[in-house]
């Protein structure tokens, strides 16, 4: 069989068109549905935006409140790690201090501050 010519194609398409026309949705109801759908989408967007803004406001408010509230434990708080690592000057000793400890060292050791040589002399006298 030969391929259909333009007239045959037109006839076939015309039949298809006539068939499609039987099921055309009504214009005004389609438009009304479209408008209702658009309204619903707009409303949903508005609600979503409102919720989003409310959440943002709450977050900002909470962060402000958290910033302004004084921390009760702040004054009694332990010193931070850097400060804690530095020893107090009264207990500090040189890293080479151990080298100074030799036999007979106590003889050459300077007397204690506010002590007297008489202290040494007084003690033997006091002994029985």
């Amino acid at each position: 069989m030969m391929q259909p010519d333009d007239d045959d194609l037109r006839a076939r398409f015309a039949r298809l068109k006539a068939n499609d026309r039987r099921r055309v949705p009504e214009f005004h109801s389609l438009l009304a549905t479209a408008r209702a759908r658009a309204r619903a989408v707009r409303r949903a967007r508005t609600v979503a935006t409102a919720w989003g803004m409310a959440a943002a406001v709450m977050l900002v408010a909470l962060s402000l409140v958290a910033k302004r509230t004084p921390d009760p434990g702040r004054s009694s708080r332990a010193p931070d790690a850097r400060t804690a690592a530095v020893p107090a000057i009264t207990v500090w000793s040189s890293p080479t201090a151990s080298l100074l400890t030799t036999a007979g060292n106590e003889i050459t050791r300077p007397p204690d501050i506010l002590s007297s040589i008489l202290d040494v002399a007084a003690f033997p006298a006091a002994q029985p």
Binding site: M1, L16, K17, D20, V24, P25, F27, L30, T33
Partner: protein
């Protein structure tokens, strides 16, 4: 063009627009209705503007085609358009079997199936020329392609459609 005037034009072209939307949506009536709704809204809200560069019909068909393409890209809803075109054409039109029995529209079904085997561009240009009686130039304008490209799609599509129909008629 004013909104009321546009609405009247759209109403006048509604049946044609429906036929065109069906083709743009692989003949899925539900999707075609959604697409038509979106296209009308786009026109009435002013998001698609008619600048008088063509006829209202050509412009409106272009809007419908673009909306249908966007819906397709959005995916999921009718991926079958490219995946299983034949299957889609069978599922798409639940009234087909009833029509076949009642209206004796076997040739419609043959044509739909033959069209479904063509590429979307070929299908579109043939529909615009044979269904909507447009010239190839008008079809090119609707499809946003050059006239040369539209003519190529037309020639190849017509040839392929002819072969399919001849094959179907023989069986």
């Amino acid at each position: 063009m004013e909104r009321g005037e546009l609405e009247r034009e759209m109403e006048g072209l509604h049946a044609e627009s429906w036929g065109w939307a069906l083709v743009c949506c692989a003949r899925r009536a539900g999707v075609a209705e959604d697409v038509l709704q979106s296209a009308y809204l786009r026109v009435l809200s002013g998001r698609a503007r008619f600048n008088g560069g063509s006829t209202v019909r050509t412009w409106l068909f272009g809007v419908i085609r673009l909306v249908a393409l966007e819906e397709t890209r959005r995916g999921a809803r009718w991926q079958a358009r490219t995946a299983s075109v034949l299957e889609a054409s069978e599922i798409a039109d639940p009234a087909s079997s009833a029509d076949l029995a009642v209206l004796g529209a076997e040739k419609d079904a043959v044509l739909k199936q033959a069209l479904a085997t063509l590429s979307p561009r070929q299908r579109e240009v043939l529909q615009l020329v044979f269904y909507h009686d447009m010239t190839i130039e008008e079809a090119a304008s609707v499809m946003h392609v050059s006239i040369g490209s539209a003519r190529t799609h037309y020639t190849r599509g017509k040839e392929a459609l002819g072969k399919r129909l001849a094959g179907e008629d023989r069986t």
